[in-house]
């Protein structure tokens, strides 16, 4: 009885906040079907023209593709470097460890515009052309600390003697990393990759300064936002991105359900 009451109260609160979080998304989706250039009430009528226009916006699809490429490449590099640093930091004590931790947490707080200007100057010095490559490199700088913290927290959470057990059974240190440490840290690595990808996919300031003739999605969106008549197109795209993310989550949940259902049966 009591638990039931708590549940319903807590769930009501959850629903309220979820509504709060989804309300703007809902409004965007509604406006993506509105037959007007301006996003104002009252709604003018139903249309699919923004979506059909979207199909012809090749630059936009190019931008999506660029963002996905940059997101994947930079997240991959971030996860590799961040995990390396996390392994050292979680397992060893060495001079400069604290300093490195403090320094590497700074990208979390530096205004990105400062970093972008500084990187523009640096890249000009060392001859890296402004390009998607430069954007990707910049994204690793802001993502490595996140990856490091996420992975280090995971490493701190499991017993060190699992690694000792592997070495005891004949695995070298590096073999142990590959066979035991990294597989156990896999959820953290995946989470770090996803968080890096999300950051990169929505990152705007660094991308704007550092890209050359190829745009990432946020850069493209922003440049389109300047034109009143392109705004609904952008809104329609946002609605699609939202929909894809939700489907992604639902699908992965579904996979998870299947996974948890079959595991015990297979085990018996």
């Amino acid at each position: 009885m009591r638990a039931q009451r708590y549940l319903s109260f807590g769930f009501a609160y959850y629903l309220l906040l979820a509504l709060f979080l989804y309300l703007p998304i809902l409004v965007l989706v509604i406006f993506s079907f509105n037959d007007s250039t301006l996003l104002v009430y009252p709604l003018k009528g139903f249309t699919l023209r923004w979506y059909s226009a979207l199909l012809n916006a090749h630059e936009l699809l190019d931008a999506v593709r660029n963002s996905v490429i940059v997101g994947f490449a930079s997240s991959f590099v971030s996860v590799v470097f961040g995990a390396m640093a996390a392994l050292a930091i979680a397992r060893f004590n060495f001079p400069g460890r604290g300093f490195f931790l403090a320094i590497s947490s700074l990208p979390l707080v530096i205004p990105y515009v400062v970093l972008s200007v500084a990187l523009v100057l640096l890249f000009a010095q060392i001859g890296v052309p402004l390009s998607l490559f430069a954007v990707g490199v910049a994204h690793t700088v802001i993502n490595i600390p996140y990856v490091m913290l996420i992975v280090a927290a995971r490493l701190a959470g499991f017993e060190q003697n699992l690694e000792e057990a592997a070495m005891d059974l004949g695995a070298t240190y590096w073999g142990t990393l590959m066979r035991v440490t990294l597989p156990i840290a896999a959820p953290a690595l995946a989470a770090a990759f996803l968080s890096s990808f999300t950051t990169s996919f929505d990152e705007f300031a660094l991308a704007f300064f550092l890209t050359g003739t190829e745009n990432t999605l946020p850069v493209y969106l922003y440049s389109q936002l300047r034109f009143p008549n392109r705004l609904p197109l952008v809104v329609a795209l946002a609605a699609i991105i939202m929909l894809v993310s939700v489907l992604l989550i639902i699908f992965s949940e579904w996979l998870r359900r299947i996974g948890t259902q079959t595991t015990p049966r297979g085990a018996e």
Binding site: A165, M167, D168, L169, G175, R179, P183
Partner: protein, 370 residues
């Protein structure tokens, strides 16, 4: 003498603590463990027994001294190149691998062929009586089952020495007793060297061929269980292994075959003990409670052969097979006596405040300097 499986000579291990104070975990340890032996490192927590084991496994390097396995020096050799395997205290099973993957881990590293691996893994699982569990994850097993998997994972590699770090600590009493016997049986069957770390003296006495008792980083005594129990070398060993009585005394005479000691104002003669060379010093006498007899003053005889003191029953606790009496002596010292229930001694025979005579054979007393 058979060949040595593991030798530690003058091994020291010092950890530098953060507050600049060093911790000497192991001090000048010398061990010579024979091949095929069940050797136990016994001591309270923090005595250095686990560190000693880790020095053998290779997880730690000695600060000073040398570790040899099968005669080969092991200093600087990483754990993965040592012919030893460990059963960890909390098993350390890889949560992301199935039981057979866990057991086959070491073989996979050694690139053993698939069929061979499968065969050996199955054999190891059969040995630990878990043939059905191959495809499960460790989290789906009970504590006892996990323990068996950990054992199989170590044994499948056919190590020269198996190191066991309190492997039964997490099991319930009954399971533990079974596993003790099984482990001992397995060790005899495989003719393997086991080095076993435990803080449970009963476990050590049950299973071991020899025991090394450790305290504060030092090895205090090495010997067979009976030696350790019957002839403890130090007060610590006597106290740690089983229950015992201590009495303060002073050596007053050293004869060729006997030692004269003054205890609670009474002169007694004990057989001369080699371990105790010096004359005229303070000593501790120790005697096991089960070696102590109690009689009523009126029925006590054999004054000459036995050592006896008069006292008063302070406490009588019935514990099933035995009754445990606490007897107060004239000088405020106390002695514990355990009398087995038998036709000669019925529980409740002596009541509190009954005046009694406590007595023991001179040969059951050990003289200790500390």
């Amino acid at each position: 003498m058979s060949e040595l499986a593991v030798e530690l000579s003058n091994v020291f291990k010092t950890f530098s603590a953060s507050n600049a104070r060093d911790v000497n975990a192991v001090r000048n340890v010398n061990l010579a463990i024979r091949a095929g032996e069940f050797f136990t490192l016994l001591g309270p927590s923090g005595c250095g027994k686990t560190t000693t084991l880790r020095l053998i496994a290779g997880f730690e390097q000695p600060t000073r001294g040398e570790v040899r396995i099968q005669g080969k020096p092991m200093n600087g050799v990483p754990p993965y190149r040592r012919p030893v395997n460990t059963v960890f205290q909390n098993y350390a099973l890889f949560p992301h691998l199935s039981v057979q993957e866990n057991v086959g881990f070491g073989l996979a590293i050694k690139r053993v062929s698939k069929e061979e691996k499968k065969k050996r893994v199955q054999a190891a699982l059969d040995l630990v009586e878990l043939p059905q569990a191959a495809d499960r994850k460790p989290s789906q097993l009970s504590g006892g089952q996990q323990q068996r998997v950990a054992l199989a994972r170590a044994l499948v590699n056919q190590p020269a020495v198996l190191l066991l770090d309190e492997p039964l600590g997490a099991l319930d009493l009954k399971l533990r007793k079974n596993m003790q016997l099984e482990l001992k049986h397995m060790q005899e069957l495989l003719k393997l060297t086991f080095i076993y770390v435990t803080h449970d003296q009963e476990e050590a006495l049950t299973m071991s061929d020899r025991i090394a008792v450790m305290s504060a980083g030092n090895v205090l005594q090495i010997g067979a269980p009976i030696e350790i129990y019957e002839k403890p070398a130090t007060r610590f060993v006597a106290d740690f292994i089983g229950e015992t009585n201590f009495l303060n005394g002073r050596v007053v005479e050293m004869g060729t075959a006997m030692t004269g000691v003054e205890v609670t104002g009474k002169r007694i003669n004990l057989p001369r003990q080699n371990e105790f060379p010096t004359n005229s010093v303070n000593v501790t006498l120790t005697v096991r409670p089960e070696k102590v007899g109690i009689s009523r003053p009126e029925s006590f005889a054999d004054e000459a052969k036995r050592i006896s003191f008069s006292g008063v029953i302070r406490e009588a606790v019935y514990i099933g097979t035995d009754t445990r009496y606490l007897v107060g002596l004239s000088n405020a010292e106390t002695l514990v006596a355990r009398l087995q229930s038998s036709p000669g001694h019925r529980p409740g025979e002596y009541a509190i405040d009954d005046p009694v005579i406590v007595w023991f054979e001179p040969g059951d007393i050990r003289l200790l300097t500390e």
